[in-house]
Symmetry: C2
Subunit: 211 residues, 2 copies
């Protein structure tokens, strides 16, 4: 309740702050200055100081912010103090890369289930996680209280899979397909969209050259 | 020059508009309403109409916008009328997924080069693209006028690779590593950061439940 007054723009910047703090924390840094955070996050240091002022006293002028304390505070605001359980659908190239990614636990997420429809993959393990038959997804996802599904299926199957999972009560999806057409209105789908990111890079890198 | 007055917030929304229009165009849609675009892009339709008003007359009240014309206009503003040449560094799981992704050409990008340091991979092809020795990266990237590099190496090699490539004059990178510490200040690195996207999803999906 006491965080209700934090503006949405500040909330949106907590994610890159958290990311930077996780990295700094893993490297053993105890203190970070707003200038250093500014360089890492590419956010103006005055904005950083203003953002942090919304949630109490962390900084010491001329010294910096306490990394573990600040990280814990941001995690609390973002409700990421406990693991969020994640299920992965689709174990092709992208799915395998995700299962092999070992940093989720330090970041508040845990892949607890993986599914595929390919009988040659079902029953095998990647990085200690068993690949299950997609036919059993409903029961297993509900049993495990999964909160988020990562959908790494081929593009033309993504909508079908998201529609199916939303009927099981899942409403938060991370997808690697470029399109989010034909999806139910009540679900949140974040698309990791390479082309859009490339377009942004191209635009802003051109822009700098012109200046 | 005549686009100088388009606000930055509008520019940032052109990327999701373009993405939606590419999809609609591929599906053969000729006309799209601001309401339909609003649902696809999750952007308020009044904002969409305001954004499009900055670059001339495309809509007919009660009919909608001409999809191919609008797409061409947005591409022009974003300077994406011609292919941007892209090089990929690292052909592990993520790199292979990227090389197998066939939608880049319709979106203004073309992967022209792929590199790895693994002698077992060098010389082989994925989706028609040859994997080259990273040792030859400088010559080949300069010869081909590559503008953007996608870095899909293991996390602990990313900084080294980006530093090396920035010395060749590349200043725009897409990375899959969570950290952007220890990078030169003059390069633009966009991180496709799964954990941050998951954190956003978790936060905003919780928030909805509370309402």
């Amino acid at each position: 309740m006491r965080f209700k007054t934090i503006p949405d723009e500040t909330i949106s910047r907590l994610f890159p702050y958290m990311r930077a703090l996780v990295c700094l924390n893993e490297k053993g840094a105890e203190i970070v200055s707003s200038n250093r955070l500014s360089k890492i996050c590419m956010i103006n240091s005055a904005i950083i100081r203003k953002d942090f002022s919304y949630f109490g006293e962390f900084g010491k002028r001329g010294v910096g912010y306490n990394v573990p304390e600040l990280l814990a505070k941001i995690r609390k605001i973002l409700k990421l103090e406990e693991y969020k359980k994640v299920a992965l659908i689709g174990t092709g190239n992208i799915g395998r890369a995700i299962l092999s990614y070992n940093y989720f636990p330090s970041e508040g997420f845990k892949i607890v289930l993986a599914f595929d429809k390919d009988v040659n993959k079902i029953g095998s393990e990647i990085n200690g996680i068993r690949i299950n038959d997609i036919q059993n997804a409903q029961r297993m996802i509900l049993d495990q209280n999964v909160e988020i599904c990562i959908v790494a299926t081929p593009v033309d199957e993504t909508s079908k899979v998201i529609n199916m999972l939303s009927e099981f009560g899942i409403d938060a999806f991370l997808s690697f397909s470029p399109c989010r057409l034909n999806l139910p209105d009540n679900v949140k789908v974040t698309c990791m969209d390479l082309s859009t990111e490339l377009a942004k890079l191209a635009y802003y890198s051109n822009k700098e050259i012109e200046n």
